[in-house]
């Protein structure tokens, strides 16, 4: 089992969800995040003082998934999120040691989906 963490552009959330659904990945958790990456930030000013904003708004996806779905899920994320511009985001994959469904107490692969 793996845990996929993906940072994407906020406005891509819908299309990523769409392509994940097409890849039969329907479970995920979404959080707001601020990201600092290759994408340049921008300058705000507030009352004449320059504000360098280098934390940009991103959406963070967390998907626990069985190993055989990792590749399709990653492809789906890329499909939904890629524009070719800086700031498109990253995908990280971690090993997942255990998984439990609270409602039933099921564990492991059975619990994940």
């Amino acid at each position: 089992m793996k845990l996929i963490i993906a940072y994407i552009q906020p406005d891509k959330l819908n299309s990523v969800k769409q392509s994940l659904f097409e890849a039969k990945v329907t479970k995920m958790s979404v959080t707001n995040s601020l990201g600092c990456g290759q994408q340049h930030g921008y300058h705000e000013t507030y009352r004449g003082v320059d504000v360098e904003v280098n934390l940009l708004k991103k959406v963070r996806l967390e998907i626990a998934i069985n190993d055989e779905f990792v590749k399709p899920a990653m492809d789906a994320i890329i499909k939904g999120a890629k524009t070719g511009n800086i700031g498109d985001g990253k995908i990280f994959v971690l090993d997942l040691a255990e998984c439990v469904r609270i409602r039933t107490g099921e564990i492991g692969n059975a619990a994940i989906g």
Partner: protein
């Protein structure tokens, strides 16, 4: 409002008559009018200004109530407040106005306790200068009173917030405002038996605020507390979601009160209206100080939400006697009201009566205090008569509100389901959220 209803203060009228002496010879129309057309126009204009000020109170209530409750129920509260003003105005036009000012009583003799002048608005022959001795027109009378009527229901809204079913609440409000509030009002402002008895309630500490407060109490008793408010482990705080909104609400209510009390003079009489402005403002200020002092002493922190309540407590407290108590008395009444409201909020919570915005403490408890205070601080009024008035309204309003809520509870139910309450009324009752797309700030 009080007894001067439909009559201009005598001093003013006399002065005006003197002034118009030589003129009235040339003007047939003027012979009948107690005041000049100019005085009529200014009186009426002031009453219309007071009307839009009272209107502003509805926004005040909406803001205060939304601010002191949770974000997940904000749409519901805003919706209720929007609907109430509409229901209040329309039902008052349909029957409320004619129940409250029936002219003649049907039950209870000349100064009785029930009368009805028929459905709809009927301006009669002279809706103008001849209508109320030149104090205002028929239309002004109606719209000013209609704005008042709607506030009684709004008071309930805050106390029962975050758990009441929308439809039941709207039905309750419509019935209460259309029928019970005006009947009760007729006893005093409609020149019914309490008026005859010498009871005094200038602008409605009892007639409006307690009337709303009793209904709020009935609602809270029948509804029970919000889930998770009272746990075996003790009382839990359920914090309001926006103090700026609550503060805006308080200021707008105070603003509106200048019209609520100032308009209850029922003319633009300079001395009386300006005196009422002074007592009203100083009582509100003293209420703030009272609540600040009480919360700093008891809770050890200057609590903003309590202090906001304190100003409203002072305002409710002065409402019954704003024109008959002195300036120092007004400050004392307000200060005590500010202390009372803090004590009352704490006690009601201990008593496990869950009132999210403190409506019962502000409007019922301080409404009673203010009504009795007239008997204490004004030599011309008896505290016994005041008490009789308080009890009469208490019994009538509480029983009728309890009955309406009770019947609704037994039939269509008055409380939302547990899961709906958990998720928030906004989603289940209205299918939308107050701060859409904000928390996941950029997903669209």
């Amino acid at each position: 409002m009080g007894m001067a209803k439909h009559k201009l203060p005598i001093t003013l009228a006399l002065l005006a008559l003197l002034l118009l002496g030589p003129i009235s010879l040339v003007s047939a129309q003027e012979e009948e009018a107690a005041v000049s057309i100019e005085m009529f126009t200014i009186n009426n204009t002031w009453m219309l200004v007071a009307t839009f000020l009272v209107f502003t109170m509805h926004l005040g209530f909406a803001s205060l109530e939304a601010g002191l409750t949770r974000a997940k129920n904000a749409v519901n509260i805003l919706f209720k407040n929007t609907a109430i003003i509409a229901i209040g105005l329309l039902t008052y036009a349909l029957c409320g106005f004619n129940l409250m000012y029936p002219g003649e009583f049907i039950i209870g003799g000349e100064a009785g306790f029930f009368g009805f002048a028929g459905f709809g608005l009927n301006p009669g022959d002279d809706p103008g200068i001849g209508y109320a001795d030149g104090a205002y027109t028929y239309w002004t009378d109606f719209i000013f009173q209609a704005m008042f009527a709607a506030t009684a229901a709004t008071i309930v809204s805050g106390a029962v917030a975050e758990r009441i079913k929308l439809s039941s609440f709207l039905i309750f409000s419509a019935i209460y405002v259309a029928i019970f509030y005006p009947i009760a009002g007729s006893w005093q402002w409609g020149e019914g038996f309490l008026d005859a008895m010498g009871f005094y309630d200038f602008a409605g500490s009892t007639l409006v605020h307690s009337a709303g407060g009793w209904a709020a109490l009935a609602g809270v008793l029948l509804l029970g507390p919000r889930l998770g408010k009272y746990t075996p482990g003790g009382i839990r705080a359920i914090e309001g979601h926006s103090m700026p909104l609550a503060t805006i609400g308080m200021f707008l209510l105070w603003l509106g009160w200048f019209g609520f009390n100032g308009g209850s003079v029922l003319s633009a009489d300079p001395e009386e209206v300006s005196f009422v402005f002074v007592t009203t403002a100083l009582a509100a200020a003293a209420g703030i100080m009272g609540a600040m002092a009480a919360s700093w002493t008891i809770i050890k922190k200057p609590d903003l939400s309590m202090t906001l309540n304190g100003s409203l407590a002072g305002l409710v407290g002065i409402t019954a006697g704003a024109d008959v108590v002195g300036v120092t008395s007004a400050i004392i009444i307000g200060f005590i009201a500010g202390i009372i409201v803090v004590g009352s909020v704490l006690l009601l919570d201990r008593a496990r009566l869950d009132d999210p915005v403190g409506a019962i403490s502000v409007h019922l408890v301080c409404g009673i205090w203010g009504t009795l205070a007239v008997g204490i601080f004004s030599a011309d009024h008896s505290i016994v008569t005041q008490l009789i008035g308080v009890v009469s309204y208490g019994v009538f309003c509480f029983v009728s509100a309890f009955a309406i809520f009770g019947i609704l509870k037994a039939t269509i139910g008055i409380r939302v389901s547990e899961s709906e309450e958990m998720r928030g009324l906004d989603i289940d009752e209205h299918g939308m959220e107050a701060y859409g797309g904000f928390q996941i700030f950029t997903s669209r």
